[in-house]
Symmetry: C2
Subunit: 236 residues, 2 copies
């Protein structure tokens, strides 16, 4: 298996120019978009529809009033939306529901992989399930997509991608995948310390959202594989 | 001191939009542009003028026939140029000479820092000298610029940047600087193994250029600080 990685938003912006037709993309936005979406799927959310703008989200609801709207701008719930971006909100209230979601980076990363053979969403909370899905795939080229924050790579995404590299065992790594693996090694299995060392982790603590950070660092607390089926993220 | 890093070409492409007027940029293109330029300065090269295109290099020589032309495309010397991009060519033959140089990534990275308060070129061969210059600078914001290869980040540049982070001791690190530090830790002081693990290192070995790799991995074999003075890279 060949493993490559896009380390942040500037690299993700170039993905639409790349032939991903035989590639399995795994998108990480650990604090907090993919953690929240995976958590929602574990709680019975029917699907999430990632969209890139608030306008697009509102248009989806005007088509189907039964959907919930979720997401954030600058870390906060968007006016008029049902849910923010805290994984702790993606509990029983999303059961059987479709959530239209827009965040600054995670949803953009998922959409940038539109040309991929398969796209999964992963986080620390479903790390082993995500690794199992990669191992079980017939695709032998994997691209780890680290969503980042605004214009910058995010350490927690690169760390989680590195943990996935380690979980996959000995493989052919690109330079950027080796970078992820090195960051995974640096913090080892102490995901809590890793997340506290990141800019986003420090911002969550400063905002009193320690519970979000703790949940996001709870490796393998759910066993869900999250994959894109057309425009929808579903269990798969 | 605050340390940030641009991990590769996609991030470097955005540098001209950034206010670097109070930032010290340190550019790494370990295999092989900055290694060659630093080596040349150690051998008495008067200055290097990094330019972005072959046409620009030829135009410089038409202005001043005494300059040497150096650089590479796809790793090879450019037709009609005096020097390629092997650090072993930057020896006595560059003494007292000005070298106009163009490479696929290193010179572009140096030029992308044009708005910086100061720009240095660094490599493993002058790591401690580069660290000393950073420590001695009045500027308290440092950006490590990892030139990469074509469109991709290069592991050797991120490794060398990480070694510089370690040499600077405890500082305030951005997420990307922490990524560099983790890669520095992963390979430790064994620069030879680090370079052999990279895509460019493997390509050099496959091309029979092991001596280039060995020289590039010779940490602190020269004690030169290389800094941009206007359009010229000089000892400083």
């Amino acid at each position: 298996m060949k493993i490559d990685a896009a380390l942040g938003p500037a690299d993700i912006a170039r993905l639409p120019d790349r032939d991903l037709s035989r590639t399995l993309c795994v998108v990480f936005d650990v604090l907090r978009a993919t953690t929240s979406l995976v958590t929602g799927l574990a709680h019975g959310m029917r699907a999430a529809i990632p969209v890139c703008s608030i306008e697009e989200a509102l248009a989806e609801r005007s088509q189907d009033p039964s959907v919930l709207l979720g997401g954030e701008r600058h870390g906060n719930r968007i006016d008029g939306f049902d849910l923010g971006n805290s994984p702790l909100e993606y509990d029983a209230r999303v059961k059987h529901r479709v959530v239209v979601t827009t965040t600054t980076n995670g949803t953009i990363a998922l959409r940038a992989c539109a040309g991929a053979a398969q796209t999964h969403a992963a986080a620390l909370v479903n790390l082993s399930a995500a690794a199992g899905a990669v191992r079980g795939s017939a695709l032998s080229t994997v691209l780890l997509v680290c969503a980042g924050t605004f214009e910058e790579p995010a350490l927690e995404d690169i760390y989680a991608a590195g943990r996935l590299v380690h979980a996959l065992g000995s493989q052919e790594l690109s330079d950027t995948a080796a970078v992820c693996a090195a960051v995974g090694s640096r913090f080892g299995t102490d995901a809590g310390s890793a997340l506290r060392a990141t800019k986003n982790g420090r911002a969550l603590l400063a905002a009193g959202r320690e519970a979000d950070l703790e949940w996001s660092a709870s490796v393998d607390c759910v066993a869900v594989v999250a994959r894109m089926a057309g425009s929808r993220l579903v269990v798969g």
